[in-house]
Amino acid sequence: MARPRHRLIRLGVLLGAVLVLGACSFLGSEDQPLTTFEPAGPFAEQINNLFWPVFWIAVAVFILVQGAILVAVFLFRDRTGAKEAKQLHGSPKLEIAWTVIPALILAGIAVPTTAAVFELTECDPEAIEIQVTGHQWWFEYHYPEAEIDTANIMVIPAGQEVCAVMTSDDVLHNFWIPALNGKRYLIPGQTTLLRLQADEPGTYWGHCAEFCGLSHSLMRARVQAVEPAEYEAWLTEQQTAAAVPEEGAPGFDGYQLFREKGCTQCHTLRFEDEAASNIIDRASFNGPNLTHFASRPVFAGAVLPEEGQTRDDALKDWLADPPYIKPGSFMPDLALTEAEIDALIVWLDTLE
């Protein structure tokens, strides 16, 4: 009944299947904007460099253990006429070996781990401070030096370190831009820090990683890194106030609706005419500052517009029924008519 050949074939098939599956998983690593494997700055890079050696050590142990299992089953499987097993009870030498060797390997991993923890924790004092506040379900960014507020997409200068000083307005959130660094909680009543840096201009995707209630899955983030000069220009532009639309001008109707429909309860808008401005106290509940809404390529927790959708179409869907798109949304369904929605969009598009 000995069938070593059959077993060899089976073993081969099994190994083949594992290899094919493994190879498949490396296909299509393109077009995965949240991947942790394409670090775009020094902090994510450092983490990546720490991950791979540990991964390969794990692979070696994996092969050792799984190989030993397969070989043991193959060599020592009960066959007719096989001798009974020797009744070995153990080997102190082996016990010492497989205690000490893993301990040494782990000690080797521990040293760079500890170093990296300390290096990655403290922000550079020269770093640009951006305050991040988590809300159900969107990220707010406050630039304290320039005194500007924006939402959903964080604009940073490429090649410079940004220190995100973070807190939460409601529940726990977890700010994560995989290409730039690991995650850090946003904690109500506490402040946490996260170092961010992108070496090259580009748009980097992110996500709230801690479960934060009904629409956790729709709390996404973007970081847009731009050339430093462009960054300065952006800051200046964001500092400008909006103009109140004249009667008859495009956007006038939409602006009136904004006033009438109760949007002013949550959304800050700074106008050149300060009396017309609608400033919501940052300490109390608020929605995104809309002064430069049209300058932001994404909205609604960086969920909209979806792939292949124009901004105006996305806005239409959103204004028609925010809680349908984002369940539990604090922005209510205002039962707007289509004409009202169109008018609002015309006005919102002027908020460059």
């Binding site: 942790t36 799984q66 299992i69 499987r77 070995l88 409601d170 506490q190 820090l193 009904l214 798109i325």
Partner: protein
Amino acid sequence: MTATAERPTTTIFRRPSSTTGLWSWLTTVDHKRIGIMYGYAAFTFFIIGGVEALLLRIQLSQANGEFLTAGAYNALFTMHGTTMIFLFVMPTSAALMNYMLPLLIGARDVAFPRLNALSWWIFFFGGIFLYSTFIFGTSAPPIGVDGLGGIDGNLAPGGGPGSFNFLADSPDGGWFGYQPNAGPLYSPGTAMDYWALGLQIIGLSSLVSSVNFLVTVLNLRAKGMRLLRMPVFAWMTTITSFLLLFSLPIIAVALFMVTFDRQFGSLFFAAQAGGDVILWQHLFWLFGHPEVYILILPAMGIVSEILPTFSRKPLFGYSAVVFAGAAIAFLGFGVWAHHMFASGITPVAQAAFGLATMTIAIPTGIKIFNWLGTMWMGRIRLSTPMLFAIGFVAMFTIGGLSGVTHAVVPSDWQQTDTYYIVAHFHYVIFGGAVFGLFGGLYYWFPKLTGRVMNERLGKIHFWLMLLGFNLTFGPMHWLGLQGMVRRTWKYAPETGLEPWNIAVTIGAFIIALSILTFMINWFTSRRRGQESGLDPWDARTIEWMSPNPSPEYNFAVPPVVTSLDHFWHLKYDEDAEGRAVRKEDGDEIVATIEHQQLNPESPIVLPNPSYFPFFFALGLPLMFYGVIYHEAMWGKGLILVGLIIALSAVIGWAIEPLEEPHAVHDGIDDGDHEDELEPALDAGTSESIDD
């Protein structure tokens, strides 16, 4: 039975005496029947938790899935985690511990049989209480939030698109219940109260059994069974009991704090009033990490029984395996903050907890290498229990290795809260604990039924489960590293995560198919399986000296243990090379043992059944329903009713008389084999057990 004379024998209460029918099950104190009830209840919850997982997987099988509403999704993942941990893996371990522990150490029952019944009934009512949230619970949106409850036609109560919204009124704060999201401000319905109080009840059940098992192990071992002669599963039960004993009070306190915050306006975790939301995480994980070892150590014990039996060799490095288990348990209390590396704790704390986590890999490695050492040079029979044991070693190793990558703190900053973590702990809990538990069910099935499970179906079950398991949880490593966050109802198509999610969903259904195979096997083999006899596996440990199916008294003659693997040494000698040689009269010895164990020489006194554990346990959920609805008059009334029931049961329990031994087994021994059974006979006298 000297105790009888000292106890009051006349009271108004008579102890129940039914041995069949519903009352016999409600009043039983037999560890085996309690184990069986634990097992069937746990398996029922396994099916429920599994169906929940399948629904989650259908939702995630495509980008922007529209199968479930957000509310239903969140409720289902909360209940899936809570169910699988507290209502499936823990009670399945409890089932095997209950059934097997006295058999493994040569006892007739656990130390406190009525207490044992109590912990089962508390578990049972706790599970029902928790799941009654599906009927009674409410899950309201945060105060002041619009957009739920169907304010316009197209909106389901769970919010957003999705065909299915059932069960959305269930706990939806995650099995981890992070504050303040699961607190009164952000989860104002009653659902999270059901969760917190349900876990409170279930935790009490485990706490009660942990004390019971510890006393059992320390006091009721058969003669000659020194601690280091105990089967490893008995050892792991002991260590698990210590873990339960020390960790459950922590979660009990934390859950009471949550309940006080939610019900009585305390502010432990209220950030807006200076409370600390991270404190909850410290308390939760200070329990939660030992909990991981509570789930895995029993399975490690089972595997340490199966591998030697089917390799026909002693466990390699027995004492190293035992002490490694103790070391894992000990270190397990010092690593909780590795669940919180993203929480902004200081770098010193992060480094310390990272390094402490790495040290756990050392005893874990010792176990794995010793299991390999056990198989090495053995004579391996690939019966179904062995397949599951080998599957355990292989899959658990993968979970252990991905665990080391979390100990590398900065790596964990990328991995935490992603599907990489989901993959990791499923390799530990499913690939580890569940494979081990299934191995145990196949291995000890004869003790339950006197039959062995069908090998062919068992092998189909194993291979389907191995395939489905790896297809489900293998790709999750990749998905997590590609940025798929956990607890996510939807993901965007642009993330490129869809292809592997399809594979994962297919894998989940293959697992379901394998479980179906198991159920068919279980129920057909129970009636029609091949009869096992005393020793179907040519086993090593003394539980196989008790007949199959187990008689109520376990052992007519408690064995006197002379060595580790005592039963094996009754059957086998070693030749000059150290190879096992079956004694010439090996078969006769086995036959003699069976005969002797089936035919007690003198009456055996077993503990009396009791009504009171059932009624005591019944009082608890009533009280806890009352706490949830304490603002209403009937809620206050319910607390009182529950309290009266529980207190009456305590009093009844205390004054309950001992009655005539209800199970008297008068055996006829023909005396033919008395001289051949050297040590076993010396045990002669039967020792009574009383609670």
